[in-house]
């Protein structure tokens, strides 16, 4: 059950501050980043790490699915244009494997249609490449906050 694998994250939520990237935090956000552009994934991981977000890198859709099967992530960032699989298909699989994990989509200009389709399939939001890092971090935090709220209501409901 994906819900049972969830770890409570409420403790450090208040300490999260994107404007102070070097602020050390005991429990960084676990991010799954799926993008086949290696250079992009690497530098983005480094920058996110400075903002207390730990990135697990996946360079293809199948790799992302494999990684998600192995471990839990707080949030996923998914490039919709991947060579091996259609982004929307990956999103559907992600949502099936872990319905609570918010997925932020990355798209190129002119592919907004695909992003809107993605949102219909349960994606949290989308960003258009190239984007500002602050924007991405903001979206990640928003997603986490939303997730915690829904987790809480889920838990209340289950009690």
């Amino acid at each position: 059950m994906p819900g049972s694998r969830k770890s409570p994250r409420g403790a450090h939520r208040e300490t999260m501050d994107p404007n102070r990237p070097n602020n050390p935090s005991p429990a960084p956000i676990r991010l799954l980043l799926v993008d086949d552009e290696k250079g992009f994934v690497e530098v983005l991981s480094k920058r996110l790490a400075k903002r207390n977000i730990h990135t697990t890198q996946a360079f293809s859709g199948s790799e992302g699915i494999r990684l998600l099967r192995r471990s839990d992530f707080d949030v996923a960032v998914l490039d919709l244009k991947l060579e091996d699989m259609d982004g929307i298909e990956i999103l559907k699989i992600f949502k099936k494997m872990d319905p609570h994990m918010p997925v932020i989509m990355l798209t190129g200009h002119g592919s907004e249609k695909a992003s809107i389709e993605g949102i219909r399939y349960g994606a949290f939001d989308y960003l258009t490449k190239p984007h500002e890092l602050a924007e991405l971090v903001e979206k990640i935090n928003e997603a986490i906050r939303l997730r915690e709220r829904t987790d809480d209501t889920d838990e209340t409901a289950s009690c």
Binding site: P21, N22, E37, G39, F40, V43, L44, K46, R47, K50, K81, E83, D84, M85, D86, G108, H109, G110, S111, K129, P130, H131, L133
Partner: protein, 578 residues
């Protein structure tokens, strides 16, 4: 009208010529027919009218002359009844009879005589001294003594001047007597002489020997056999008037109207030159001819002028159509480049995103103040290198796009098609990758050159590849572009294994504005433009498709030959002018 028009090409010149000929044939045929029929009808009815008129005229004169002769005979018979043969030889008696005759019937009677059975003239009154003249051997006397009355032919006789005689036979005391009167030749002649029509129409009388019984106005020698034929025809056919048109002795075509006189002894002939008799008809014909010629000139002028104008108009609209075609092709090119742009945007967004992130990373490091130790400097260098690398990547992409876009003119060049296909494939590779399509080429090496517009062919392949990628966007698949030489043509195949085209759409696929894409997504012009471009270079494009198996477009382009080069250079020369 003629404001320095440029000379037309041979095609338009021959078009003009054909149109002129067609208009002329169409206009002249009814005109000639109608004019011919009208002239023929008019001519025959005019002939009929002239014939009828002349026939009537001659008939009237025949009756006139016959009744004149009859009357004279009656006159003499009347006189003969009252003659007292006892006293006739006494002087003065006969003179008294003559003067009675003349006072009653005019001076048409010149003289009067009584001849006994032996041919001796026993009494005579008249201007000549013919008393006791012997007529026993005279031709007329021999005939006159045989019948009750007799009218002679014209003869010179004893007096030596032309005249003719009316003789009445009487029997008295067992003896035959002849009372004869001479008719004034001039007044008889006047009867015929007054038949004058036009300039050449005149009448004369002939006897069966072909001798003139009147003095014709125009002197000529009658051809005996012709006249005897008239005699024969008239008496045989029982017709009163015979009309013939034939050449006369002088070779002039003439009308001959003849009728028998004097119980068939004489022939009244009316002769008129045909041209004179039908002068009205000829005038009408000349007027008709003048109108015909004027009308003909007008038709020819109109045909030439109108055809010239129409061909000019056609040439102009052809030129406009050509320009419009070019514009449509240009628009199609923009559309296909637009589709391409989405792929290019993706391709360029990745390196740009990396550059942005690397720059941000450098900023992060600098904000930490950690740029003095060796490791930090190494990281700096790596990041900067990455930015440079990604910048180069961007440059390559833009170069690729530019090299494609630069060839925008539709100039005809000779080139090898393989390179062009590779170029288009390279440009579409990224899009194919994202559509999960394996894009491959199978090009025969050393293909002969073709003569075509580089940019237009680019557009054709880009369109076909874009269509195939669109079709396989959801499913992925393979797309193979092949090129080989076959019988003086280059055969290019664009084959995918996508969903295929339904049969209903297959027939309309090259129609302009036919599209299966949602409204606003496709112009429906792509394939129709491809079709136009391939047609223009003398090639063909065909499509084969099976549902769930795939679609193959097959293009055949003729290999460049020397004579096409010449044609093309003309076109390209005009193309490069603008």
């Amino acid at each position: 009208m003629n404001r320095n028009l440029p000379p037309l090409s041979p095609y338009y010149r021959s078009l003009t010529r054909n149109m002129v000929l067609l208009v002329m044939v169409i206009s002249f045929t009814p005109m000639v027919l109608v004019t011919g029929i009208i002239l023929d009808q008019f001519s025959s009815s005019h002939h009929e009218k002239v014939f009828a008129h002349l026939g009537e005229l001659v008939l009237k004169h025949k009756q006139n002359i016959d009744s004149f002769l009859d009357e004279k005979v009656q006159n003499i018979r009347f006189l003969a009844d009252s003659i007292d043969f006892d006293r006739i030889s006494q002087p003065g008696i006969i003179a008294e009879d003559l003067s009675r005759l003349q006072s009653a019937y005019g001076t048409v009677f010149v003289d009067l005589g009584v001849v006994n059975e032996q041919g001796q003239q026993v009494a005579y009154a008249g201007p000549f001294n013919l008393e006791n003249a012997i007529y026993a051997d005279a031709d007329w006397f021999k005939k006159a003594i045989q019948s009750n009355y007799f009218t002679s032919d014209v003869f010179l006789g004893l007096r030596g001047s032309p005249h003719f005689i009316i003789a009445v036979r009487k029997t008295w005391q067992g003896q035959k007597w002849i009372i004869r009167a001479t008719i004034d030749f001039l007044s008889f002649n006047r009867l015929v002489e007054k038949v004058r029509i036009g300039e050449t129409g005149f009448a004369y009388i002939l006897n069966r020997e072909g001798q003139f019984q009147t003095k014709p106005i125009f002197d000529f020698t009658p051809t005996l056999d012709i006249y005897s034929r008239y005699f024969a025809t008239l008496s045989r056919m029982g017709k009163e008037v015979e009309i013939q048109e034939r050449l006369d002795g002088a070779g002039v075509k003439s009308l001959y109207v003849s009728a028998l006189l004097k119980g068939g002894d004489w022939l009244l002939v009316y002769k008129q030159a045909s041209s004179d008799a039908f002068s009205d008809l000829h005038n009408a014909q000349i007027i008709a001819l003048v109108f015909f010629v004027l009308g003909g000139i007008a038709i020819v002028a109109m045909a030439v002028w109108m055809s010239g104008r129409m061909v000019r108009r056609i040439a102009t609209s052809d030129k406009e159509k050509e320009i419009m075609n070019e514009q449509v092709i240009e628009t199609g090119k923009l559309a296909s480049v637009g589709e391409l742009a989405a792929g290019i945007a993706h391709e360029i967004n990745n390196p740009v995103a990396i550059m942005v992130e690397e720059a941000g990373w450098l900023q992060d490091l600098m904000e930490d103040g950690a740029y003095k130790n060796e490791a930090d400097i190494k990281e700096f260098e790596r990041a900067l290198n990455q930015i440079r690398t990604q910048g180069k990547r961007c440059k390559e992409i833009t170069h690729k796009l530019l090299s494609f876009a630069r060839k925008t003119d539709s100039r005809i060049e000779d080139f090898e098609i393989g390179h062009l296909i590779e170029e288009v494939v390279a440009l579409s590779a990224q899009r194919a990758k994202y559509s999960n399509v394996e894009l491959t080429t199978r090009l025969e090496p050393k293909l002969p050159a073709i003569s075509a517009s580089h940019s237009e062919l680019q557009q054709v392949f880009l369109n076909l590849i874009n269509n195939a990628l669109d079709a396989m966007d959801k499913t992925g698949g393979t797309l193979e572009i092949s090129a080989r030489q076959e019988e003086g043509q280059i055969l290019i195949g664009v084959a995918d294994n996508g969903p295929g085209i339904p049969k209903a759409n297959l027939a309309r696929i090259f129609d302009p504005f036919f599209t299966t894409k949602p409204v606003g997504s496709g112009t429906g012009l792509g394939l129709s433009i491809c079709y136009g471009i391939i047609q223009k270079m003398g090639g063909t494009i065909a499509v084969k498709s099976a549902l769930d198996v795939g679609t193959t477009f097959e293009i055949r382009i003729p290999v460049k030959t020397d004579d096409t080069v010449e044609n093309r250079t003309v076109v390209s020369a005009s193309d490069t002018c603008n």
